[in-house]
Structures are given as structure tokens and as C-alpha cells.
């Protein structure tokens, strides 16, 4: 009995136990996405006989004799389905990985469901948009415009990949059919700290289809960091491809390469590993204590991997001069990026025998460098590129799969794929660094901050990828936004035997900003000053130096200033009125954040533009597109410089074959660094009048961007339930290159931060094993959880950024937790210091205060 897919019968019978999602993908329907494989996220939604179902939990055999419609079959020939058209016109997506599922779901809604989207869309998770653009798409409210020649910058130009995203034809990392593909799976450590004494592979090798088993004996005896930075020395070299010591539950112990994923998994279960269990330390404070088990005792004689002890001015005198001093300790949870596309890579040897890796990465060039170094290959014998990447948020500024895929390809000579499961994302990828931050602040009654003191403890987990850098960054712009010349910082980044932390949107700033902005709110209360005036009195102004304790690269300055406008918005928000349910407590709060436009110490981009004739151009850039929208902006910049329209700019990207170098899509550099290179290339082409031109930017000097967030909340004191009555965000991004995209990026950042503030926490058990390994246990914000956020742009133009633009991307995340904390404090009269603020914790805080 055949399965009818999009009108065509498919005769191949599904395998026993196969779900419909993998069957459909094997039949070529790559628009059907894997987000969770547990029925939670909806990215795999298809219709069976017109009824929408989650194909990942739908037994494939049951589709035999029935009609299946996927995103590829929704359009009527070349004419888009109305829902596809409205998602395109509203740009109801960013990375677009969840979009096929959202479209298939929306297309199946009845009028009653359309009127109740919070309920109707509870089975569709989007990590990028914050759902407002999705709501507009469902309602058919368009946002996109077609720009006139030379007028693209500043217009709501649609993403070049939009038509592919809404038709399911955009090709993400795993959406390729590679003949002869082998599959890689890993066995992960059950121990937080253990030596691998022996691996018995005999039973595993006997599984039919197994081609290769890799253990630490096959791995190069070479240390590296999974973190990717332009400067390799920024991260400690403490990691091996496969190590004979495992340092967290979930670390890869061995890899099996087989002709099917099932065979590889089966063989992993048959590997017999003898461990010598070693003492482990799971708590960062205990890791600092004398005599603590050493996580990397073979390399370092302590668990501290980065520290900063520095002061500006006489801090003790500053506190003595204060009328009010407040001190508190804050904690942030482990948070997962939860990009809808999981980590993974495919590798093969091309006709020339060159190693090629197609990866879900934010850093193709740095990953090529890292792979080449690991296996002693000249860089030109390695090519790394991406398809469209389904979300990153910092999680893919990391080499988590490519090293092992490369080894498997080099050993077998055959194409190999490794695609993480959703559970592996939680137990075997990276998280946001959990922080403990103690802040002490003093102020005089006139509003002057007299001293600040911060004690920061960042838990980097079992490996130091991004650990020191996140710690340093966390103590910079968060402090430097205030012109206080008496500041002391004591910060540590420490190893523990837990799942490693890594780069995460905000790169440490959000954690320290949460603590600092909470304490300053409390200080303002104590001196009887409103929080906006208090900020206005203390923030840096144009011409001020940006200072924080410690040595910092001195190329950072205020090249445009809109924080005053952001604060004006906060003040006007207080004048609004909202209704709360009877008996609920209400409160208001705000916070600010500053972020550097790019990382210190160099971030490079190359761009090449070539005339194709008839007013069309090919633009090659190295940076990656994972929903950040930089591709759209690059097309806008090039179109305006060359007097054409963005649809006539053909973009090639994220491929080490295209341009000499690109540091990568991280540190909010897509516009300010890669965009600058594009601008220079386009200007060079226009100036030369030739066929081809190049542009380069080295990422220095750097400006700063500003964000401010305001909330009004209501809390039910009987249950702890919190509702956001109003959310207002103001951003100073310099020239707004694309208001539709910038608004969407800010809304998405606020939504993701609200997840970290109100819901998300990766939990470990007493053995260090991650217990929250599905979206059912790890609650991402849904449509219903995400409030509408008013977004306002400051009117500024930057002297450094391309065409006056500055960074955004990461920064909208940072003021959200403290703004919510301050509103909650205002409502319930209790200062809560540990995120997330879930209803049970809020209820307990109210009880303990009674």
C-alpha cells in the first residue's frame, strides 16, 4: 500500500517503528523539519488526509493508503497558498526553521482557532521571532515593501531567502541527499568524572552496518577549544576529540559510524566501557575551595580558568560617602539556546580528495582553521560551508560536531553525517553560563552613585570554551555604562564537572546586568528617586570614556548616543495605564544595557562583489545567516551603493571557498563588520567601474549600542501567577537599516530573555546528569507566554558603523531580566534574586515575606 505524498504515490514501505517525519524526509520532503522528535515543537507538522499532525510522533505505516501534504505540496503550482504568502509578506520568520510547521498548522486552523492563537499555536515553538510577526502573518498584515533603486537602506525589505523559507525549499544543514551517507552516533559518559580504562567494541562491531568505531585511541593527541574566536589563545586548549578522561555526564566517549542511524545507535548501546570513577565537583563555589577535585588536574593545578581582580578609585571611601548602601547576591540558571535546528554536520571528500564539511555553524572559516589544525591539513585542503542555519544564539560559535565528523570522513573516505538529537542539545552541547553575582552599590541622596563592588562567579562547566572571555565581557559594558570612578571587581570563571557553558546571546553581560540593574533599582528606591532620573544622573554621555576595572582594549567609544532617548521612552511608559485583575498586585520596573558593537581584539570580514551584467551583481560574503537577517541588510547596502534594487543582488555566503576570510557571525557583527566590508566592496566597484571589487573590515574601532526595557506586571498573590500587562523596549541601533527586521530581532530577543527570566532552567541531578532533556521539561516561551512588546528606535547615526548603523542582535536580551525583576519587586515588595521567576517561586517569596 503506497503513501500519497503531495499527490504522488510513494511505494516504498516504511521501516518497522519508523515515524512519518523521517519517512517523508527520506522520500525527499526536506521541508519537514526535526525540531524535537517528541511532538512538542511542531516543526514537522504535515497534513494526513487534511488533518494536521506532528509527523515525528506519527507512525509512518499508518500513512499507508492515505494522503499526506507537506509544505512542498501546499502551494498550487507556482501560486503560493494564502498562508505562505502572508508569512512571506509579514516576514513571520527569522531563521525559518519552524516556519513550515507554522504554515502547515495555520493552514489547518478553523475560524475559532484563528481567533484564539495562544491556544491554537501552543504546539508550535519559534525561538527567533517572539511570535508578533507570526501573529501578523496569520492575520494577513503585511510588513514587507519593495524598495526603489537606491532607497533600500531604511526600508522594510524582505529577506532574500523568504520565498524558499515559506515553500520549504530553503536548504538547511541536513536538507541534502548524499549518496552512500554513513551516520555517526556517540556514546556519552554516565559519569561526571572518570577515566576510560578500556572500551570493548566487539559486540558493537558485530552489529550489521557498522563501519567504524572511534575511541580516544583514534583521536589526535592534541588539545583544542571548541570555542571559536579570531584569536585562538582566547580560550584554554583543554579538549580532545575523544578523551581518555571524561569530565561531565554526557561527554562523548566513543563514536560509531554505520550505514544507518539505528545501527549506529544499537552499536553504541553494545559498547562495553570500563571506567575508573574519579571524584567530581558540581558546584562552582565548591570548585573554588581548597582541596576541591580538579576538573583538569592533568593540565592545571586549580579549577579557576579566568579571573579578574581590579579596581578604579577608592571603593571603601566611596561606600563611606554613600547615604544608602545596598548589597545582594543574584543567581542565573543554566539556559539552553534551543535553536530549532540542532547541532550537526555532514562531511565528505570532494573529487579532488579535499575534506568538505557542511555544518550548522556560525563560524565556517574559524572551524576550517580548527579542523585543519587538528588533522595537520593545509587550510586549502579543507572547505567548510553552511546551508541555511536554523538558529544559533551563540551556540554555534563552537565546534561541537565537525571535529568528529572530519575524523570519521578521513578514516572511512566516505560521507558521514552527525545530527544531534534534541536531548543531546541539552546534555551534550553548551549552555548559557550560570552566574552568581554579588553587587554592592552606594549612592548619595542627590542620586550620585558613590561606589560599585561586584563579586562574580561564572561556572564554565567541564571545559573552558568561552569561559574567560564571557567572564571579562560580563564585567565590562554592564559597568562602563555608568560614569562611576570607584568600582571594584572580583571575578572568577571556574571549571566544574558539568555540561560545558559556552557563548550565549549577550555573552555574560545579561547575567551581570541582571544583578547590577536590580541593585541600582533598590538603591534608587532607598534614596527616594525614580529609577529613570537615577539612571539619567549616572549614565555615560557623549564624550565620556567607557571605563571598567581591568585592562580593556581601548578602541571602544561612544560614536553615537541614543541612551537619553531610550530613557525618555522609559519615562513616558510610566504614564500609561493598564487594568489588572481584582486582588492582584501590580508593579513597574525598568533597566538599561549597553553593548559594544563587536568584540575586542579584531573581527574580520571580507566581501567580494562582481557585476553579472544587466544591472545584476553577485555579492560574496563569509559570514553566516541563521535568522539574524544580515543577508538582507547586505543586499540593501550593496543595492543602494550600486543604484539598483536588492532583488538584483545575488548573495553567496558562508563558504570558505568564497572569500579570503571571515571571523564569523557572532558578537553582533553581521551589520557592523560584515556590512562594512560589503559597503567598502560596493563603493570600490562603483568607484572603479570595473567588473569586480573587494571590501575588507578589521572590526576596529568600535561604537556602543544601547537598550532599555520597561515592564508593568500583575501578580496573583494566591498563586504566584505573573502576567505582563505592558512591555516597552527602546533601542539605539544607530541608523535603522531595516525596521521590520530590527523590530523582529528586538521582539525575539525580549521573548528569549523572558524565557530565561520566567521559565527556562537546565537542571542537573545530584550526579551531574541533565534531567531536562526535552521541551516538555524545558519550557520555551510559546505564543501564549509572550506578550506584545512595543519597540521604539532612538534616532541616531553612528560615526563608525556602516551608513550610521550599530549592532543589535544580542543586546535586546540584556535589560529584560532586571526590568522584570524590578517590576516584580515593585509589585510584591520582595526583591527576588534568582531567575527564573516561576509562579511557585514567586508564591514562595510572597509567603516568606508574610
Amino acid at each position: 500500500m503506497s503513501v500519497e505524498i503531495n499527490g504522488t504515490p510513494h511505494e516504498r514501505a516504511p521501516r518497522p517503528g519508523q515515524c512519518l517525519r523521517t519517512y517523508l524526509r527520506e522520500e525527499g520532503c526536506f521541508g519537514v523539519k526535526k525540531g524535537c522528535d517528541a511532538g512538542d515543537c511542531g516543526a514537522c507538522t504535515v497534513h494526513v488526509d487534511g488533518e494536521p499532525v506532528h509527523s515525528c510522533v506519527y507512525p509512518a505505516f499508518r500513512a499507508q493508503g492515505h494522503r499526506v501534504t507537506t509544505i512542498e505540496g501546499l502551494a498550487n503550482g507556482d501560486e503560493l497558498h494564502p498562508v505562505q504568502r502572508s508569512f512571506l509578506e509579514a516576514q513571520g520568520f527569522q531563521c525559518g526553521f519552524c516556519t513550515a510547521g507554522l504554515i502547515m498548522t495555520t493552514a489547518a486552523l478553523d475560524p475559532a482557532q484563528r481567533a484564539d492563537l495562544p491556544r491554537a499555536l501552543k504546539g508550535n515553538l519559534c525561538r527567533c521571532t517572539g511570535y508578533r510577526a507570526v501573529a501578523d502573518a496569520v492575520a494577513g498584515i503585511p510588513a514587507q515593501v519593495w524598495a526603489r533603486p537606491g532607497a533600500a537602506v531604511g526600508a522594510a525589505v524582505g529577506a532574500p531567502a523568504g520565498p524558499q523559507v515559506v515553500t520549504g525549499t530553503a536548504r538547511y544543514t541536513f536538507d541534502v541527499d548524499v549518496p552512500g551517507l554513513l551516520h555517526l552516533k556517540v556514546l556519552r559518559s554516565p559519569h561526571a568524572h572518570a577515566r576510560v580504562v578500556a572500551v570493548d567494541t566487539s559486540a558493537a562491531l558485530a552489529v550489521p552496518g557498522v563501519e567504524l568505531i572511534l575511541t580516544h585511541k583514534d583521536a589526535p593527541d592534541r588539545l583544542f577549544s571548541t570555542a571559536q574566536h579570531e584569536n585562538v589563545a582566547e580560550d584554554p586548549a583543554d579538549t580532545r576529540v575523544l578523551d581518555d578522561v571524561v569530565r561531565f555526564v554526557g561527554q562523548r566517549v566513543a563514536a560509531v559510524v554505520a550505514t544507518s542511524e539505528a545501527a549506529a545507535e544499537d552499536a553504541c548501546r553494545r559498547l562495553r566501557v570500563e571506567y575508573e570513577v574519579l571524584p567530581a565537583v558540581l558546584d562552582p563555589a565548591l570548585a573554588l575551595a581548597p582541596g576541591a577535585p580538579l576538573v583538569h588536574g592533568d593540565k592545571f593545578d586549580r579549577n579557576v580558568i579566568g579571573e579578574l581582580h581590579a579596581a578604579l578609585g577608592d571603593v571603601d571611601a566611596g561606600f563611606a560617602a554613600a547615604d544608602e548602601v545596598y548589597e545582594a547576591t543574584f543567581r542565573t540558571a543554566r539556559v539552553q539556546h534551543a535553536a530549532l535546528e540542532t547541532h550537526g554536520a555532514l562531511g565528505w571528500l570532494d573529487d579532488d580528495g579535499r575534506l568538505v564539511i557542511r555544518s550548522s555553524t556560525q563560524t565556517p572559516f574559524l572551524t576550517r582553521r580548527a579542523v585543519a589544525a587538528l588533522y595537520d591539513l593545509p587550510p586549502d585542503r579543507v572547505r567548510v560551508f553552511t546551508g541555511r542555519v536554523g538558529g544559533g544564539f551563540g551556540g554555534k560559535q563552537e565546534m561541537l560536531a565537525e571535529d568528529l565528523v572530519a575524523l570519521a570522513v578521513l578514516r572511512t573516505g566516505r560521507p558521514v553525517k552527525w545530527e544531534f538529537t534534541r536531548s543531546e542539545q541539552f546534555c551534550g552541547a553548551t549552555t548559557r553560563h550560570p552566574f552568581r553575582v554579588t553587587v554592592k552599590a552606594g549612592a548619595r541622596r542627590d542620586g550620585t552613585i558613590t561606589a560599585l563592588q561586584l563579586e562574580v562567579l561564572a561556572d564554565t562547566g567541564a571545559y573552558g570554551n568561552h569561559g574567560p572571555s564571557v567572564m571579562y565581557h560580563s564585567c565590562h559594558e554592564s559597568i562602563a555604562v555608568y560614569k562611576c570612578d570607584t568600582v571594584r571587581v572580583d571575578a572568577h570563571a571556574v571549571y566544574t564537572n558539568t555540561v560545558p557553558a559556552g557563548a550565549f546571546r549577550g555573552y555574560g553581560l545579561g547575567q551581570v546586568t541582571f544583578a547590577l540593574e536590580s541593585v541600582l533599582d533598590e538603591v534608587a528606591r532607598r534614596i527616594g528617586m525614580d529609577p529613570v532620573t537615577f539612571r539619567e544622573l549616572n549614565v555615560v554621555r557623549p564624550g565620556d570614556a567607557l571605563t571598567a576595572p581591568g585592562d580593556h582594549v581601548d578602541d571602544l567609544g561612544i560614536a553615537s548616543y541614543g541612551l537619553d532617548q531610550c530613557l525618555d521612552r522609559m519615562r513616558s511608559a510610566y504614564a500609561t495605564v493598564d487594568e489588572a485583575p481584582a486582588g492582584w498586585l501590580t508593579g513597574e520596573g525598568m533597566a538599561i544595557a549597553m553593548i559594544a558593537a563587536g568584540p575586542p581584539g579584531g573581527h574580520f570580514a571580507d566581501a567580494t562583489i562582481r557585476s553579472l551584467g544587466d544591472g545584476r551583481y553577485e555579492l560574496s560574503v563569509g559570514t553566516a545567516e541563521f535568522g539574524n537577517g544580515s543577508t538582507t541588510v547586505h543586499a540593501q547596502i550593496a543595492a543602494d551603493e550600486l543604484g539598483t534594487t536588492p532583488d538584483r543582488i545575488v548573495i553567496r555566503q558562508s563558504d570558505t571557498d568564497l572569500v579570503p576570510h571571515d571571523t564569523g557571525a557572532f558578537a553582533s557583527t553581521g551589520v557592523v563588520v560584515a556590512g562594512q566590508a560589503v559597503l567598502r566592496a560596493a563603493r570600490a566597484l562603483r568607484a572603479s567601474g570595473g567588473e569586480i571589487a573587494h571590501g575588507h573590515f578589521d572590526g576596529t574601532p568600535r561604537s556602543v549600542a544601547f537598550n532599555a526595557q520597561w515592564f508593568r506586571v500583575a501578580v496573583d498573590p494566591d498563586t504566584g501567577e505573573l502576567r505582563i500587562l505592558r512591555s516597552v523596549h527602546s533601542a539605539d541601533a544607530g541608523t535603522v537599516m531595516n525596521p521590520m527586521q530590527l523590530r523582529g530581532q528586538i521582539e525575539g530577543g525580549v521573548a528569549q530573555a523572558l524565557g530565561a527570566t520566567l521559565a527556562e532552567h537546565v537542571d542537573l541531578d545530584e550526579r551531574g546528569e541533565v534531567t531536562t532533556t526535552t521541551f516538555r521539561q524545558y519550557h520555551l516561551p510559546t505564543f501564549a507566554d509572550t506578550p506584545f512588546t512595543e519597540v521604539h528606535f532612538a534616532e541616531t547615526s553612528d560615526e563608525i558603523g556602516p551608513l550610521g548603523a550599530k549592532s543589535m542582535s544580542e543586546s535586546p536580551f540584556n535589560p529584560v531580566s532586571p526590568a522584570l525583576a524590578n517590576a516584580l519587586r515593585d509589585a510584591i515588595g520582595v526583591r527576588m534574586t534568582e531567575i527564573p521567576f516561576t509562579a511557585d517561586r514567586i508564591w514562595r517569596a510572597i509567603q516568606e515575606d508574610r
Binding site: P16, G123, R776, T782
Partner: protein, 246 residues
């Protein structure tokens, strides 16, 4: 015949929702073709294979049925596939079909590998988190809901950390003929707790009854702390008592 590694397959949404390396054969129940709903003089027999969507449509006239369907964490797309029986057999504290069946004095019919049948009240079918009275090879055939209970006046309260999140507390009060009351506590506790009162209880009596639930019986997981669940149980129970007394 039943053998080790076998599993009964309902809709598949739970079974396919995580890796099941121990399962080597699936025995498909929907292909048995059981009618979703069978009306009886004294009530309604719901096949284990009845989907949530079918239940919500076919018993739409009972508010409590609709409320329990909507308590499901999963979306309406899952309703199209997930079954009433599967929800019971998963035996999660938050399983709303367990709440519905327990609150309405539902009775499960189980069939053993040799065809032998037995009846178990829904409230006793689930014995703990993920645990049921099912024996090896035994299957859940149907759930009978008595007509009188279905038609009775009910009062429903649900608490969750998130608006449409997994239930942390799900309480259903029901009026019984002659003025009696039942209160069913689910989601907050590891198994259903049903309290019966011959007459409408006063607040103190109700709270005294709830106090017989041992603190360790409240679920402790990411969906809510036990003390909060216990508090919400008392809080909502009183709301239900008040609502049913007017």
C-alpha cells in the same frame, strides 16, 4: 502471542515521543477497529483507541470533557492522534484523561494476554508516576463513564507554571445525587486522590480531608514545587467547594 519486547501501540504520540530501545515489536490497537464511543443505557463506553479529538467532539455537550481535553499540554494536532487510553497508560500525574475518568467514577476494562477481562476504577488504575496496574501483556480496552456522573454538575480548576503549560494541579469537584460531593485531586499528586462527602462539606472538613494527603505524595518536578502544589490544591479545593455550594 505476547512476547518480551512487545508494546501495545495506541496513537503513538507517547511511544514515538522518545527512544524505546527495549521495544522490538509494536502491536497496533487502532487496527482492531473498535468504535470510538459506544452509548450504553447507564453511560458511555470510550474505546482506549478513541482519540482526544474524537472525544472532544463526540462528548462536546459535557463541559468537563472539553475542559479535560484542553488541559492536555499537547496541541490540537496531537489530539488528532493521541488516544484516551494512551493518556491513561502513560500514567503521568498531569494526564487529563486520568483526571476525567477519576472524577467521573470511570471504570477501566482490561484484557489479559489470554483474553481474560477485569474491571478497575480509573482512580485505581494509576498507582504512581508512570505506574499502572497493567500486567505484562495486558491491554486497556475501554473506559466506562457512568451517565449520571457525566451529567452531574462539576467544577474545574487547573494550575500550571505557564498559561497552557503542563498541569501542576488539576481538581474536579462533582455533585452527587442526594447532595453528596466528590473532589478529585490529580496532577498535583503522584496518583489520583478522590474524596467523597455524603453532604456538602464545610471548609474545615474539606481541608481536613486534603490534609490526609502525605506531603511526599505531592509531585516534585520541573512543573512545580510540592509546597506550591499542595497550597494550590487547598486553594482551588475551597474555590470548588464554594462554587458548588451556590
Amino acid at each position: 502471542m505476547w512476547r518480551p519486547g512487545d508494546a501495545w501501540l495506541g496513537g503513538g504520540t507517547a511511544l514515538f515521543g522518545e527512544p524505546r530501545p527495549g521495544i522490538s515489536r509494536l502491536l497496533d490497537l487502532p487496527s482492531a477497529g473498535w468504535p470510538a464511543l459506544t452509548a450504553r443505557d447507564d453511560g458511555v463506553e470510550i474505546a482506549a483507541t478513541c482519540t482526544i479529538a474524537e472525544l472532544a467532539t463526540l462528548l462536546d455537550r459535557y463541559a468537563i470533557v472539553r475542559q479535560c481535553c484542553e488541559a492536555l499540554l499537547a496541541s490540537f494536532k496531537i489530539w488528532n492522534v493521541a488516544t484516551v487510553g494512551g493518556n491513561l497508560c502513560a500514567a503521568l500525574p498531569a494526564g487529563p484523561m486520568i483526571s476525567l475518568g477519576s472524577a467521573l467514577d470511570g471504570v477501566c476494562t482490561l484484557i489479559g494476554p489470554a483474553g481474560e477481562q477485569r474491571q478497575v476504577p480509573v482512580a485505581e488504575f494509576v498507582t504512581g508516576e508512570g505506574r499502572t496496574v497493567l500486567r505484562d501483556g495486558e491491554l486497556l480496552r475501554s473506559i466506562f463513564l457512568p451517565g449520571a456522573a457525566l451529567a452531574a454538575r462539576t467544577s474545574y480548576r487547573r494550575g500550571s507554571l505557564h498559561r497552557y503549560g503542563r498541569s501542576a494541579v488539576l481538581l474536579i469537584g462533582r455533585t452527587a445525587p442526594g447532595g453528596g460531593r466528590t473532589l478529585t485531586v490529580t496532577a498535583a499528586t503522584r496518583r489520583p486522590w478522590v474524596f467523597r462527602f455524603a453532604e456538602p462539606p464545610r471548609a474545615e472538613r474539606l481541608q481536613a480531608a486534603l490534609a490526609t494527603i502525605p506531603p511526599a505524595e505531592y509531585v516534585d518536578d520541573v512543573h512545580g514545587r510540592p509546597a506550591w502544589r499542595a497550597h494550590l490544591t487547598r486553594h482551588y479545593a475551597e474555590q470548588i467547594r464554594t462554587e458548588l455550594s451556590v
